[in-house]
Assembly symmetry: C2
Amino acid sequence: MKSMEDFSEWYLWVVREGEFVDQRSPIKGFDVLLPWAYSIWEKIQNLFDSMLKEHGVSNFYFPLVIPRSLLEKEAEHFQGFVPEVAWVTHEGDKPLNEWLALRPTSETIMYYMFRLWIHSYRDLPFRVNQWCNIVRWETKATKPLIRTREVLWHECHTAHATRECAMREVKRSMDLYTKLFRQYLCLPFIILRRTELDKFPGADITYAFESVTKEGKILQIATTHLLGQNFSKVFGIKYKDAQGKDRLVWQTSWGFTTRLIGAMIMVHGDEYGAVLPPKVAPLQVVIVPIPMKGGPDVLEKAREVEKRLKELGLRVKVDDGPETPGFKFNKWELKGVPLRLEIGPRDLEKGCVTAARRDTHERIEIKENELHRVKEILEQIQKDLLRRAEEFFKDHITYATSLSEAKRILEEKGGFVKIDWCGSERCELKVKEEGVGEIRGYVEDEKPKGNCAVCGAKAKHVAYVGRAY
Amino acid sequence: MKSMEDFSEWYLWVVREGEFVDQRSPIKGFDVLLPWAYSIWEKIQNLFDSMLKEHGVSNFYFPLVIPRSLLEKEAEHFQGFVPEVAWVTHEGDKPLNEWLALRPTSETIMYYMFRLWIHSYRDLPFRVNQWCNIVRWETKATKPLIRTREVLWHECHTAHATRECAMREVKRSMDLYTKLFRQYLCLPFIILRRTELDKFPGADITYAFESVTKEGKILQIATTHLLGQNFSKVFGIKYKDAQGKDRLVWQTSWGFTTRLIGAMIMVHGDEYGAVLPPKVAPLQVVIVPIPMKGGPDVLEKAREVEKRLKELGLRVKVDDGPETPGFKFNKWELKGVPLRLEIGPRDLEKGCVTAARRDTHERIEIKENELHRVKEILEQIQKDLLRRAEEFFKDHITYATSLSEAKRILEEKGGFVKIDWCGSERCELKVKEEGVGEIRGYVEDEKPKGNCAVCGAKAKHVAYVGRAY
């Protein structure tokens, strides 16, 4: 157990002791993903990959390295990424003719190929996905799963005939993410349109999916960009329309990373450690036999229950290690296994097992011939996790009418503070300079109630202010 | 259709026109894997990943970059890889303190961590797997899927208490590979122990899985290394045995790459293109409707058949594009789809569909109410592919008693030529210098019949000589 008072310390404790990540690799910001975290990533991949395929997206694999000249083509994009780029300059002891960037994202290398593949309106919409590693040499403090220099992610890139089609794709990406985040990861979020200062380098519009951690900080968990024609112009990605006229395509790109695992820890965790949603937990049920000297064979019964739960399609295992039951309880609670089944001599006598919910610590007696209830309990946990996270999330969006009020709220309870905003960069910067927080963006159709909380001019948007990772 | 006379040209034609790989990326040797090839890779991954998990191997993810000092620790390993290493030297415009290698393989970065994880005999055996990209700056001519600078692969690394345990693991890896290559990919192979000159840098023993292409060249499709204690010595990977004494672990590493896809093309292909084994084909059945003006609605029937085959669990699709049936036949034959179903007005009348096997071009009439036969035919194709490939393979191992005979055979039909060999480096080099081919290794328990075919001294091994990719 560890208090969440010092949230950062608590988080590192969960990640380390729960065996999600090992940070002791020889290069800072390049952590080792341990099987527990990697297995969650595999589950996210499988779930989302099926959704993508159903949506008509195909998986490709593009080169890890991007020639400097290619990365430079879209000027804003290059300016945005160049401070974080890791450069390959030598092969053996020979200098390369041209420096190669480790991909920080794959727009440029993909769109170089799009030009070769897209010719006619019949080729559109064109959709590409890639699961891969990217490298961004973060200068901010790194944090396992949340901010690292190498990251595993998916990046989806699409091309369309018109701006409307591209915007429809943006909405589709939002639907797919919404389904994954809510139904599977139990992560509530709001979709904010980023301000002009804060959007993706090279995009017309950036939408960010933002969640709130238990400590009240804002955590971006995915982004979708309407790239417009910024890249198709410089890469010459054209199609012939039905009239045979050359037109530039409209593009979108969207992605999420292994940060999602960190997000689940930060949103669902408690002082006992991580709490994983059953749908992505590597192990859904752990069975802990509680033997008694001279008592009956509880291990045999544990194996029998394991077998029956496996037949129900559950991910389950008996912890038959030499440690004490108490040690095992702590270990699996820390790792976030949704449900524990205890089997002791008393349970045996009564013909039942004792279930303990990870999220509520509620104890439930289950009769041996009612083991199917385990499945129902897991479904209930999944629902309850989302409901509680949503309540917390809603409770952490507060309306303020002045910067001082906003600041006070952010200091006291965090989350998002909404303020009316004129939309100017000046006021956006002032919110930051005054130590309130950052304007993370706005919801496009949300109307302000009054005047700009910063300058008093007519408000244009309701800005969401918060302190972010 | 394309003659296989110029095999290299034929291969590039299949890969390009069959849409496996696009080589037009801006960096030589870094190709784009298109959905057709990537989907085969996904199938190989899924199949082998389940086998690994059943064998007790867990998936991790380790850093892409390795500090130079770490790569240098095992001297032979470093010497072997340094000419091919791509170096990251700058972050933004700042030079790094230490150059970082893009992993050419992950022994050094993994074993740095092994030291932190392995303490007691109870931690052994310790097994790690990783699916990732690696970079080796090949100086030889590159060839898509066969020799590229960036490669996707799996690498499995294990640590054991004794040499015997490690050797047992070597055998287990061979069993796993044998199952994957034979049952799923229909690839025959021989496992050769590499000569001292040719083994993996840093290994005690290297075993290579070698197949023979239709052009008679040797193609390595996987390797397993007994690393012995070479790495555990330099990385200090120790465990306390049951008596509390410190001992160094014994290690193995083994892997295969996306080259397996190229291998299937080169082993099963014909002048019509690729021939994919049904178990890993992205599409197992393509349905081509053959409409006739004023005739019945064959497309509707095609959809109905598609639905029923999907219910049988098959990967199937109707090609309802605007092209002619002939164009479609060529396209899907080139891509290697194992079975084509044609549905024309005549078939409709007779209440059947016409199946065409990709491997034999045999045409089979299937009654509409016997569609389950499609499954049986696919199973038959899978079996026949392996059988024919095995016959070819066996037919391409020839015994020769002199270098001149060996040379003649390799020039005339290729494959492997077996010669008795004294085991000396001098004779090994002579086989190469005289333009015969390379000694690719030997089978450990195969006894020579006479004297060394090179120097006439007492033979120690039967050497397998061939010309390899």
